[in-house]
Symmetry: C2
């Protein structure tokens, strides 16, 4: 490997890709609901169950989240890549995505959050923390309800690629999915 | 989709998988160096370039990171799944993984961090923040140096699956990789 020293901003910052895309959904008086894909997301805690997403202050969604609203995150199959890419192609400040893309929206059962049809899984999240991390803020939410599509998970609740082709993002408008081939590697 | 309300701990928390595995490397007087795989990781900021990993206080690595040491994160190809799985199968509190697994370690160029041969990319990270998030802590580091294997990235620096098969983790000891098929979806 060759090394490159980093002065300030990195010209390319994709080394840890691909990642599963979380589509954030939040109530929005302007549009009714707004949805934004975020690849900078991760699980954070089992007990309580916490999930985090990084959102730039440049995004329309940022103001809604900063307001302390509950939000949803939804996970889509590869076949919905076009929809997810379109959600990331315009801003809710300019476009009502629900109308523009004919989104099929339904409401959360526990929290007042919008959810999208077509996902294989989703969480309703109660906001717990917001951390400033450089040019993004990191929003943490506690899972209050889980949505699961039937058949998308194995007997242990894992979205294995024989059950569902989870949408992956590589950066630079490139989307993909996991290969069918997996390995079970348990050494303990 | 069916909904499940969540009272406290979630029985299954894999809906956002698969994720790319980051192998954390940190200096360790006891073992010389210690390495631990972490699937709860994400990019956080472009400028400055920040990256975060969630680590449980139960882990040997936690004490080392809490100490404020610089650390590395390395990204491996699928063919190294066995090595990465082994790194997660024992604790540095009990086993010197470098000796036990015959690891090939080299030092960072900018920070005093251990790195592992066989990765296709790695960062040297200067710790900037630690946030408490439930039963894990979220450690944030600023990228000070980038390591890249030749040929693992496309012309824009993206690790596309025609260049490298990035190791993915699905949970429950199941490892995988991205499919070769991708889609370029640019709408703006």
């Amino acid at each position: 490997m060759k090394v490159q020293r980093v002065a300030d901003k990195l010209r390319r910052f994709y080394h840890y890709y691909p990642g599963a895309v979380a589509v954030i959904g939040v109530r929005d008086e302007k549009n009714g609901a707004n949805f934004m894909p975020a690849v900078w997301n991760t699980g954070l805690s089992f007990d309580p169950p916490l999930f985090g997403v990084a959102v730039s202050p440049k995004r329309h969604t940022y103001g809604l989240l900063k307001d302390g609203r509950p939000f949803s995150v939804s996970f889509f199959p590869f076949e919905k890549a076009g929809l997810v890419a379109r959600l990331g192609s315009v801003s809710g400040a300019e476009v009502n995505k629900v109308e523009a893309f004919g989104l099929e929206v339904f409401g959360g059962e526990v929290l007042e959050v919008p959810l999208l049809k077509g996902a294989f899984a989703a969480y309703e999240l109660e906001p717990t923390d917001r951390f400033q991390t450089g040019d993004h803020d990191f929003f943490v939410g506690r899972v209050r309800a889980v949505w699961e599509a039937e058949g998308a998970f194995n007997e242990h609740g894992v979205p294995t690629p024989d059950r569902v082709e989870a949408l992956l993002y590589f950066g630079r408008f490139i989307y993909g999915k996991p290969a069918k081939e997996t390995r079970f590697l348990k050494f303990r």
